[in-house]
Amino acid sequence: MSSASIGGPGSAPVAEVSTATSGPAAGAGPILRVADLARQYGGVRAVDGVSFELQPGTITGIIGPNGAGKSTVLTVVSGFISPTAGTIEFLGKDVTRLPMHRRAQMGLVRTFQIARVFEGLTAIENLMVAVPQQKSLTVKGLLGGKRYWQSEEKEILERAWALMTTFGMADKANEKAGRLSGGQRRAVEIMRALMMRPKLLLVDEPMAGLNPKLTRELEEVFLTLRQQGLSILIIEHELDTVERICSEVLVMAWGKVIARGEMAELRTRKEVQDAYVVG
């Protein structure tokens, strides 16, 4: 495993990968607005009346003890499960009832807590498949054959290679994804999400299981992406990471948001310390 690195040789070129479309739309409202969100499992209220807004081009963290409902919020926002109450607005449009794949097409993209790659595909195929509305997948594309989608396919391949290179994984491109290490899988998953040109990225504990060096490199990746206009909602246990990259932090406990603000300030607050023993 020569390339245990995510930033790769010379971590700078992440900036070359233009991911988000055109940066934050000036004067536009919040990119995501969640109001009174609730989700029950049987009799358990996993999420109980959560409201928040995300501004374009920001990184927002969700922290809280185990079982606070953090992952459930993320899962409901992504559309993987539907809420029992509340509304979700994405880019000013009500998406509460839209299925997950429609939200993903709008630019609301998630990664999974345990990185999920398509194990039977190679690393680069994992990236190339992440363009759901490519011409080759339409009836027209099937009938028209290669000539119809060739140029688009070439562009997808180029973008995938550019990402692979900046993440320092070019030598793993044709490796079967099922054989990659944990850190490499996570990298593939994040690159795959970036292939979709997301506007809002939902990431669930991306640093879990990564060594400190990789963690710092991934932080750099997220910061660079934010500069390019991408918004990120991140669940993270590692509070130092949260402090370094998040502009705003939501603290959750018992299915509710019990505090919000900047990490440095939150550390001093009594109610946060009570709910969540801060190191």
Partner: protein, 301 residues
């Protein structure tokens, strides 16, 4: 093809065969009323084959709908088996619909006006032609971006949906295409053998299809084609040339099926990927400007 365990595929083939039969046989009063069935058109060969493809696709989608519910793989497989057994039972029990248990017979052969020998060869040529067309159509789905998307969906449906794929739509699409193939193959089969009844598609026939796929290697077109050929020619026909063993009639057939079953188990045990592995396309680095380093990652294993 889409990772859905389709143990009811034989139903699709049967649907194609029946469609072809009732569309070419002519009215059931025409031949002395010894068999009964619905419709009774005398359509030309190609129209009937196309109709068989359409019916096959529809039946394929209907079967696919039952597979949409997220239940365990093996449970789903069981449902499919039950569907295939039941379809045969229901049609066998309704004599006036599709000929019931005795089935349909005297289905016209498109080359009936040639001499038997020439007719047979013409038929072989036509089937070979159909296979080539089928293989080319199949390549459209299994190679390139479409194949990539289908394999991704097979590996992890949830992740595929998280990436914006409509899993339901793609599943039903593959079911429809698979169904159309089954329909055509049923039509070609029945046009050649001239008769069709529930006994011709008992669930053991499903095993033959499965063996072909498993031996050839799931996910490799060439492997599956070869597997089908080997199974069909060597096992099911080949046993007829074994020296007849005197004791009783069913023995040679029994040996054929037993070999088939043992072969499936042996392959699943010893070489589950089949003779030919699934091919994974390799992508070289495109030769465009800004790619830093320019190192080409080809030639790894």
């Amino acid at each position: 093809m889409s990772g859905v365990a389709n143990l009811a595929y034989i139903v699709v083939i049967a649907a194609g065969a029946y469609t072809y039969g009732i569309l070419t046989l002519g009215p059931d009063t025409g031949n002395g009323g010894f068999q009964q069935y619905v419709l009774g058109y005398r359509l030309p060969f190609f129209l009937a084959v196309i109709a068989a493809a359409v019916v096959g696709a529809v039946v394929g989608v209907l079967i696919g709908v039952t597979g949409l519910k997220r239940i365990r793989q093996d449970y789903q497989a069981m449902v499919m088996l039950v569907i295939s057994i039941m379809a045969a039972t229901v049609i066998g029990a309704a004599p006036s619909f599709l000929g019931g248990e005795p089935g349909l017979s005297l289905i016209p052969n498109p080359f009936a006006n040639l001499s038997p020998a020439t007719g047979d060869w013409a038929y072989v040529a036509m089937v070979a032609f159909a296979c080539v067309i089928g293989y080319l159509v199949m390549r459209r789905f299994t190679s390139g971006p479409m194949g990539r998307a289908l394999r991704a969906m097979r590996d992890d449906e949830h992740a595929a949906a998280a990436m914006g794929f409509s899993v339901i739509k793609m599943r039903l699409l593959t079911q429809a295409v698979g169904g159309a193939f089954g329909g055509v193959s049923g039509a070609l089969l029945v046009a050649f053998i001239g008769g069709w009844s529930p006994g011709a598609w008992a669930y053991v026939e499903t095993l033959a299809l499965l063996t072909a796929v498993i031996v050839g290697g799931m996910g490799n077109d060439f492997g599956v084609s070869l597997g089908t050929f080997v199974i069909a020619v060597l096992l099911l026909q080949g046993v007829q040339f074994l020296p007849q063993i005197r004791s009783h009639t069913g023995l040679t057939e029994a040996i054929g099926w037993m070999t088939l079953g043992l072969m499936t188990i042996a392959f699943l045990w010893l070489r589950p990927q089949g003779v030919f592995r699934e091919r994974r396309p390799r992508y070289g680095q495109p030769a465009v400007g800004n790619a830093a380093g320019g190192e080409v990652a080809e030639g790894h294993s």
